[in-house]
Each structure stands twice: as C-alpha cells, then as structure tokens.
Symmetry: C2
Subunit: 479 residues, 2 copies
C-alpha cells in the first residue's frame, strides 16, 4: 500500500491564502506612501531576527505572514512607492502582477517550443507587437530576418549582443578556439557598467574596451569613436562592437545613433543600442525620434520592467538577423531533440540567450499591453515626461539649484549651488527622512542629484512635494 | 491643472481579478490531469489566433482570460501534471506560488543591499539554511569564507563558476586582457550541455574543453581525467576547471566526487559540482552520501525549481570562497555607490552573478521551506525516490523491457527489447495520446526512454498507470 502522508498545501488552503495575499498586496499599494521609501534598517538587522536553521516541521501561512509584516517589511525599499525617484524605476501594475501570477501558476518551463508552444508563440507575437509600437524597422520582426526574445535584464541582452558580434566577426571561431586578445569594443564613458562586465565575461578583456569621450551633452563623440577605430586598425587589432545608448543611466544622455550607425556600417562593426529605460518613450510618436538611426543597428534592447508597468524581470532584446544569434548560442544535446525542433518550423528560445530554462514571461507583457492599450501606455509615459519637464523647469528657474545635464525625457540631473559636500548631505538627509528616495551620480567630477520620474503611480503632486522637500531641506541645511 | 486620466487598474479591480486568478489556478491544479500533458498543437497554431498588432485601446481582464482559456491553454505542456515524467521536472507548490506572488507585488529590485536589505539578508539566511539541510561543509556558508546566491538557472551558475575559475587561475588577468587560448576545462561526455555553452561564452572555446570518457555507470573516468590533464600540461596548456555532475541529465549518472576532488586539489583546478536536480535528494540523510566529496569543491549548484516544490526560476549557487566570485564579477559605477556598500558590512548580490538587476526570489524558497518543514520536504523527496525505484523494479522484472543505466534516485532509463525504432515509435505514440509525457536520451548509440519522477503531485498511482500505458502501447505496436 502507498504511504499517504501529504504535506502539500490543499486546494482550499491555497484559495484562502491566495485571496488573502491578493488583499495584502492591494492593501500594500493603498498604503505604500506611509512607509519610509528607503528602508531605514541597519546592516544585519533583518538577519538577526531570522532563525539560524530551517524549521524541522511545517509552519502555518499565518506565522509566515506575521514574519513578513514584522521582519521583512521594515527591510523593504519601496520601489512601488510614487515617491521613489532613485536609479531607474522598476515599475509594476495590476495586470502585470496578475500575468506573472498566471505564469507562476502554470509553472511552464519554455526552453524549447515543444515544452509549451504557447510560451514561445505568444512571446514572438507580443514582441512583434512591441516592434510595431516602437516603429522598429521590419528586420527586427520575426516575420522578417530578425525577431526578439524576452531576457531577464539589459545586462544579459548586452552580453548576448557582444557574443553574437564576436562570433559574426570571427566567423564563429571564438566559440571553437577561444578568444585571441585582438578584438576591440567601443562604448562611451557614460555607457552602463553592464557593458564592461559583459566584455569581461566574454573573454574580450577590459583593456580591449575603449571608453570614448563625450560631448557637452554627455553623448558619445563620433569623431573620437572613428579615430579610436582607425588607431586600433593601424595597430592590427579587430574592432567588432559598438554600444550606443539611448538614455544613459547617469544622466539620460542620448548617443547620436545615425552617425554611430554609419561608422558601424563603414567598418563592419556590430551596433547594439541599449535603451533600457528610455526605449519605452519611443512608443509615443513625439519621442520616437530618439530611436532614429535604429535602422542601422544589429540589436536593440529595452526593459518594460523599468518604465512600462511590467514587473521585474522583463527585458526585450531585438536582433536584425536572428541567424547570427542562434548560431552563436545554439546547443542541441540528444535529450532535447524533438520533432518540432528538427522540422525547423519553430523557434526554440533557449538558443536566444545564456540560460537554458525560461519562464513564461510574455504573459505579463501581454496582460499589460492589452489592459492599458497602446493609447493608455502612451498617455502615462507622456505624463511622466511632462511632469519631469515641469520639475526641470522649476530647477531651471530656481535661484539655488542648477540643471547639470540636458533632461530629454524623465530624468532630471541637478545640483545645489553650494557644491559637492552640500549636495551629498542634502541627499542623505532627505533619504533618511523617508518621504522620498532619490540617488546621485557624478558629472565632470561634481556630485549631482538625480530625479527619475517613472513609477507607475507617480503624479504631479508627488513631484511637486518632492521639490518642496528638496528646497526646504536645503534651506534648513544652510541655516 | 494636472490632467487626471488614469488607465491603471483600480485597487477594487485588482482585488476582484486577483481572487478570480487564484481560483483559476486552484481549478487548474484540480483539473490538470484532464489536459493532454504534451501540448498537441501544431507549429503556428497559437500564433495565427493572435492579432497582428497590439490593441490601441484597453481590453477587459475578462476578454484576456477568455483568450487564455481558448488560445493559450491548448498550447500549454503541463509541467505541473502528475503525469509529467519528461526531462527533469520543474515542480511547483502552493506556498511557492504565494511567495512568488508576494515578490511580484512588492516589486523589489534587489541589485544591492540598500535597494531592499530584506531581499539580500533573507536570501543569505535561507541559503545558509539550505547549506545546513544539505550538510554542506562550513566553507559554503555566509558565516564562513563562502556563501550562496540565488541565480536563475544552473546554466548561469555554471558560467559564474567558470568565470571565477578563469580569473582565479590567471590572477584576474583575463578580465583585464582577455583570453589567450591556453586555458583548458574538463567535463565528461555526459555533462550537461550548458557547460559547453558556458565555455564558449567565456571565450575559452570548445576546442579547449575536454570531454572525458565514462565508465559502465556513465560516470566520469578519473584515470582518463588525469591523463588528459597531464597531456595538456605537457603541451604547455593551463588546466583550470572541472565540472563533476551529481545526477546527469541524460541518465542521472553520478561522477566520483572524491576522486575528482583529489585531482582538482593536486593540480590546483576549480571543482564545480552540478547537481541541478539530484542535489535536492541530499536533504534526506539516506541520500546525503551522493554529495560525499563536496568538501573538496569550490562551487556547487542545485535547483529547488526542479525538485523542491519551488517554482521556476530558483537555482542555488554555493561557493567556498566568495572573494574570488566577487572579485571576478564586481563592478561599481558611481550611480550605484552608497554608504552601506562602502562600509563593507553588507552583501551586494549583483556582484555574485551575470545580471545587475534581481528579483526577490528568496521569498518563495522561504515560504516553501517553512510550509513543508524540512521533514515534509524529506518525506516527499523520499517518496519520489521510492516510487521511481518501484518503477525500476517493474522494468527489471519485465520480459520486454530492460534497464539501461543505474537508477540511483528518481530517474529510470529503460528500453524495449525491440530496438531503437520501436522505442522511438513507442515514445511518440504515447506522448501523442496525452495521458503522460516522457522523453528520451541516447546511451551508447541506443535510443533510450526516460521516466523522471519528481512532479509535486506525482503519486504511486500515476507511475503505475504510466507503466501500464507503456506496456499496453508496446503490445499494440507489436501486434
């Protein structure tokens, strides 16, 4: 006879606890502004409240949720607060949470088409939708030579782009024989740190990464790019990759895509565009021009999990020629062979990224796009930009603060006239009070404050309040 | 005045739709056995039902869920069916789905300690719990020299191990100057394909990866490993990395950890242990011996998302010396600098993996371990092994089928005596009927059937029914 002990959660219990969790989350969003945005705990404060060892016997969901409230919540920095202005946002929304819940419930692992055809085919179609929403050139659609895949983050997408570029340039010989130390990549001094990390991971080496200087708008200088390429060629090196950024993390600087693209075509280099946050803006016709030149690119990536109401993680990575990516990353062991793959009629997304396994992430993106409709998404993105531009105008007309970089979209970089130490003190004082959370960068050696406006529920009133807090705190610190 | 249009889902709507989604998932689990386990759709069948373009205006959740039921569900291969015996499982459970829902709701991005201290500190503590549950040596705990991190998949963990090994062996010079083509890595012919992929990604090159032969149990032959190392050394190459497998994907073969570990210590090579599925078994004292020798390893990874009731994705990657991993993957741009990081008192997990951004994945693991308790987890894992061993015994005593590899745990590899074409036909016929789903591998040139028993709700009755189906279908095909 079969032993019939069963520690699994019953269906009834799951229904009860699940509905309580939904209410918990709804309550959380209703009350999120009551928490200090930046967690105020000290290092180790959470750890010391957690038992040293796993429980030997089952504990109730009520016990667990009691600990969530008492131990975990004080250690949360509230990314979903409308008063979160730090880094880039990682915004979320109701339909996204529901789509993600459905994904968790179905528990599908979509590594190949056969392991859930809907996981692959919905992803392909929704990414073609996005290509249309962003007015990407035809080659980035699955119906043409390219296509797209959902990755976890822009870091992984950048690594994938570098690998494809590496293999294309060497006729797939690095995959066979390893790097030989003569490939060279180009980014600007403002490019995201994930590019340097990816260059290291790919075995290219930091010494083979050129940090091209920028102009007064902090955009890559194309003359310096070209002279660096020429210099490397003269030294017998092999230029292979350029990353252009639309909306740098530091200041939202925008590299000149057309000019960079022309250089990439001239010298046969892979052009990757990292538009992690700001790419979303291109769904609005009035901001689409920031992507002009993308027709020259080989790959492009942006994160709906930053600024398109789709909860982390959801990066969309587009390539103009999928065959290069697939040839670079494809592996087909016997235990994954199947009729559909062998027929060639299907996409197996495991060949489009680093990992083998993959979650059904297109569900949340599909839910978000359908819930909002393209017009709804455009409205909220435009609103964020409008509010950020208002904030920039307040700074511009202020006697005490200066704008320190162009603010093309939803990130405003500014500084108090009193200098670096004062600005650092101002930031730390405000963040410690908890009514808002913003972060800093350094521009031309100066400590600079960043206000990034992109959390789902951020409205004009929150930004107005933030500006008052900043002004008042500065006055207090001066007196 | 502020424009007050709002396309966000209201709190009331979220509560209503969320509770309906919970019921939808509970209903799904109650009825999961009614679906064909392997989706029966043809390539393109889902795609052609999806609109070509994104909707311009908002659609209701009712419309969306109607399409989930009508379009998506026929394209699902049911990984959460108790009749899923394919590949390795990717099992889930009620507490895991709830923990993942909480993670989605909080929407935390835990790239550094400050962006949610609880996300980092809970992860560290829960992974120390797991180290205890698995009786790992002290050095794999955060309280000693090592520690652990949740990654997405074993592929990413293997890549991280290779990178750390690469940098340690070269005194961090590949990160600086790139690969130089003389590093050599060793796996067996049975090692997971992700290792080959990672070796390519890391710029080492497939030609510098030695596939060591295996013995009659399909375990790595240590004599061949050592002679390969000696041969490479004599040729001026630099051996740096060995991956040992506990439970190969093809047949669940178990490499001799102690012997491999001794060789790694003798030649100063990084030893990584990939125990993606089978590592979970080591929480049961009776199966802990499969990890004997781990005290010699530098890194170890296993996936609670395979066989520990924690929904995808959740890989746990342990290292004996965290400083090597961090030094390999650390990047600190200005915009991520903060007091906590600079104090050195905290872990910033972005330095432990490829990506920068990260989800709050320890919540679901914490929920699972607390809901089941260690004893509950042990019970269900032991049950799966017990049932698999029964299945193996049925095969062993059958007149028509043979076991074709040892079945140390929950994977049974077997074949009908009628040969390759018959076994292929048998597999395809059964999978097309939809009452169960299993997959194949090739062993010594022979097409072999795999039954992997690890789905959360798989009970003896399901496996007994599967065996009857296999026998009856074979008889039908013979007649």
């Amino acid at each position: 006879m079969e032993n019939i002990k069963n520690y699994h959660m019953s269906s009834e219990e799951f229904r009860k606890q699940g509905k309580q969790m939904i209410d918990w989350i709804a309550d959380y969003y209703e009350n999120v502004e009551k928490y200090p945005v930046l967690s105020q705990v000290k290092p180790g404060e959470i750890t010391e409240q957690l038992p040293l060892n796993a429980p030997e016997v089952s504990e109730s969901m009520d016990q667990i949720m009691t600990d969530v409230n008492a131990i975990i919540m004080p250690g949360i920095t509230h990314w979903q607060s409308p008063n979160f202005f730090a880094f880039f946002p990682s915004n979320s929304s109701g339909p996204s949470v529901l789509g993600d819940l459905l994904s968790s419930g179905l528990g599908v692992q979509g590594m190949i088409w056969a392991t859930s055809p809907a996981c692959t085919e919905l992803e392909t179609r929704v990414l073609d939708w996005l290509a249309g929403m962003l007015q990407l050139p035809e080659q980035f659609k699955s119906t043409s030579t390219g296509g797209a895949v959902i990755q976890d983050t822009a870091s992984s997408a950048a690594l994938s782009a570098i690998l494809a570029a590496r293999e294309k340039k060497t006729n797939y010989q690095v995959n066979e024989s390893g790097c030989s130390g003569n490939l060279v990549a180009y980014i600007s001094s403002q490019t995201h740190s994930s590019l340097e990390k990816a260059i290291k991971i790919a075995g290219i080496g930091k010494n083979n990464l050129r940090l091209i200087g920028v102009d007064e708008k902090l955009a890559m200088r194309v003359d310096l790019l070209e002279s660096a390429i020429e210099n490397d060629l003269q030294n017998g090196l092999i230029p292979f990759f350029v990353c252009a950024t639309v909306g740098s993390t530091s200041t939202n600087a925008i590299d000149p895509l057309i000019e960079i693209g022309n250089i990439c075509r001239k010298y046969d280099l892979w052009m990757h565009i990292d538009a992690a946050m700001s790419g979303t803006a291109a769904i609005c016709p009035e901001y689409r021009h920031f992507l002009d030149g993308i027709e020259l690119a080989d790959s492009f990536s942006f994160n709906p999990h930053k600024w398109m109401f789709t909860n982390f993680d959801c990066n969309c990575f587009f390539v103009a020629d999928r065959s290069v990516l697939i040839k670079t990353l494809s592996i087909l062991p016997e235990y994954l062979k199947n009729q559909a793959t062998e027929s060639g009629a299907v996409i197996d997304y495991r060949d489009w990224h680093i990992q083998l396994g993959r979650r059904f992430r297109s569900l949340k993106l599909w839910f978000v796009i359908r819930h909002y409709g393209v017009s709804g998404l455009r409205y909220h993105i435009s609103e964020h930009v409008r509010i950020a531009q208002e904030f920039a105008e307040w700074v511009r007309t202020s006697a005490d603060f200066d704008l320190v970089a162009p603010a093309p979209l939803n990130l405003v970089c500014f500084a108090h006239k009193n200098g670096n130490d004062f600005n650092r003190k101002l930031l730390e004082t405000i963040n410690a009070e908890g009514t808002m959370y913003f972060t800093h960068t350094v521009v031309n050696g100066n400590y600079v404050l960043r206000m990034c406006i992109g959390q789902t529920n951020t409205k004009e009133e929150h930004v107005r309040q933030a500006w008052e807090t900043i002004q008042e705190t500065a006055k207090k610190l001066e007196s």
